[in-house]
Amino acid sequence: MTASSPGLISPAVRARLRDLRLVARRPAVSPGFGAHHSRSRGTGLEFSQYRSYEQGDDPRQIDWKLHARSDRFFVREAERDSPLEAWLLVDATASMTQGDAARPGWTRLDAAKVIAACVIELALRQGDRFGIVTITGNGVATIPAAAGARQRDRCFLHLQRLETAGAWPTPGGLRPIGELIGPGALVLLLSDCFDDAAIELAEKLAAARREVLTLQILTAEERDFPFTGGHRFIDPETGEELLADGAAARGDFLERFTGARRALAARLVGQGIRHVEFILDQPPDAPLRRLFGPAPRAGTAQERS
């Protein structure tokens, strides 16, 4: 962690990021050196096998001591640690504008920006490649994956300029995402997950062997429904309005909404997608700790072994 990234990550959160590691469940396949297990063989620290020299192999890879013993050319191969490609899919549709009345100026999008910045810092620290896809009603904006501090600054700049607009785009507008994100990449979707199209996108990416994680950002008002008195509830994306009495609607809403959350989590887990919820009154590193924390749960440990 080198240069500061003003505005996005508070020092307390930054301090708590120290023991987090971006980990993919599947071995990475992307070329290059990195910190992740890979199936590709080549130069590296962990010995894999010897094989006979073929034309075109780098002479530096020939094990000269073995040649001295056997008078044949063997090439020493190692399991190559490869870098991870991390992709951040940031939902910036109008529904992300919502925040809590208890903490004005802290919207879903703000939380998504901070979490994305945290993931970028983690990836930068591990030398991984990372890229950003932001999805607004106007379409998809991307920063192709790359590594390095300059890439981080590019991404931060892009995040800081990001503003919400419109509703979730049509599937045609989302096509560049599939082309951009290569197989084996770690994809973190930061969204309220209210749009069915967003879930479908995550499922499609998961089906195409991308490691997809969804982070559902909810407001505390959606969790608690603390409204009393008459309210005119407005859907920011459709503009639809609904008159309801807060206290009267509370029980029913909580029941239905909790059911919907549970159904979503079950659906995503069924597709092999790791799903966590983040509520705006929690610290922004809490969901990352659940995803990438140092004390993995029993289930996660089994998956990794």
Binding site: S95, T97, Q98, D192, F194, E221, E222, F227, G229, G230, H231, R232, F233, I234, D235, P236, E237, T238, E240, L242, L243, A244, D245, A248, A249, D252, F253, R256, F257, A260
Partner: protein, 390 residues
């Protein structure tokens, strides 16, 4: 004691009470707009309950109170049948204050001068003597029914009219022998009749001179005033002691003459003078056929009269009548009816009209109350705490 409204229709203003009620109600029914993306899990059937609730209840109560008081003010509330059993003592001006106090000492009495407005006895002695009989009747009518009334009168009382006052209550008619001598009527100074004419060859002038001679020659009664007659053109200013004026010049009255009349002068205008509206004046002198010769009215402190025809024998045959000087004199100096009597002979008798007692108007008190409530309402409505509570 009973409460009444002189204008009950004013209570229709109570309908205005609905205005603050509506103001405080509509704010509550206004829906608070809330951005809520998880709208689809919210059931549409749950309409907000209609709650009859009011914002800022203390302010609303104050506003309702204010409007109700205003409506009551419009309805002109009165309080009638006030029992005020205080003892009233009315002192006729002319009796010394100390003498009056010494004459009788009822406990807790309300001492007043028997004068216009019934000022308290501590105030200055009223200068002008109004009609005593009229004041007595007024006092009797305005006092509550059960208030006892004592009237202190000197042995000789002035300002009476033709009738012994009949009052509805039993009046303690207390005669005080004043040490001060009763005011003797001052010997009257000779009056000066000024005649002002437009042209020296005015036809009326010889007759007026004849009248002057007649007044001088006629042996005057002892109490009658000597009259001196002067004459001159209209441009000549009036003598300082002139009290009567015959103005024969045509045209409008000059301002100084108007001021002189208003200050207490008595003027008889010729037919050609332009008089201040005398059409509605009283007919002071009619001829044998009943037609008006002179009409007049009060003007300021003085009187103004006007002839309706020329002062010539052709138009006014009465000019040649032997009684003309006397008639003219009574115009200027109308005989006064007798006003003085010994007090014991004019003690008020019971049997006055039992008028309903004058109700006490509550409007001034109500107006003060309205002002106080208004101030309180403004204070509450503009206080800084309001923003927090709303």
């Amino acid at each position: 004691m009973s409460f009444g409204l002189l204008l009950p229709a004013g209570l229709l203003a109570l309908l205005a009470l609905s205005i603050p009620l509506l103001l405080h109600l509509t704010r509550r029914t206004e829906q608070q707009a809330t951005v809520f993306a998880a709208l689809r899990w919210l059931k549409a059937s749950q309409r907000p309950r209609r709650q009859v609730r009011f914002d800022e209840l203390p302010l609303l109560v104050l506003r309702l109170l204010l409007l109700a008081l205003l409506a009551l003010l419009l309805a002109r509330p009165v309080l009638s049948g006030l029992t005020d059993a205080r003892h009233w003592v009315a002192v006729t001006p002319g009796i010394d204050r100390a003498e009056a106090r010494a004459a009788l000492d009822p406990p807790d009495a309300e001492w007043r001068w028997l004068a216009s407005g019934f000022p308290a006895l501590d105030q200055e002695t009223p200068a002008r003597l109004h009609s005593t009989s009229s004041l007595l009747r007024e006092l009797d009518a305005t006092l509550p029914d059960d208030a006892a009334l004592t009237v202190l009168v000197p042995r000789r009382i002035d300002g009476l009219d033709g009738e012994r006052p009949a009052l509805r209550r039993q009046v303690d008619w207390h005669i005080v022998d004043t040490q001060a001598a009763p005011a003797q009527p001052a010997p009257k100074s000779p009056a000066v009749l000024a005649v002002r004419y437009g042209q020296p060859d005015e036809q009326a002038l010889p007759y007026l001179r004849a009248v002057a001679t007649a007044w001088r020659v006629t042996p005057a009664a002892a109490e009658e005033r000597q009259v001196r007659v002067t004459s001159g053109p209209s441009s000549e200013p009036l003598e300082a002691q002139a009290s009567w004026l015959v103005w024969l010049a045509p045209g409008a009255l000059p301002p100084d003459i108007r001021a002189w009349i208003a200050a207490g002068g008595t003027a008889l205008l010729g037919v050609a003078s332009q008089a201040p509206d005398l059409a509605g004046g009283n007919a002071l002198w009619r001829d044998a056929r009943g037609e008006v010769i002179v009409r007049g009215r009060a003007w300021g402190d003085g009187r103004v009269m006007q002839l309706t025809r020329e002062l010539t024998p052709a138009t006014l045959p009465e000019l040649l009548d032997p009684g003309f000087p006397d008639r003219l004199r009574t115009l200027f100096d109308p005989p006064q009816p007798p006003q003085s009597a010994f007090a014991e002979t004019v003690a008020p008798r019971p049997g006055g009209l039992a008028l309903p007692s004058v109700p006490q108007p509550l409007q001034p008190w109500l107006a003060v109350l309205v002002a106080m409530v208004f101030v309180a309402e403004r204070w509450l409505a503009t206080s800084s705490r309001r923003g927090r509570s709303a």
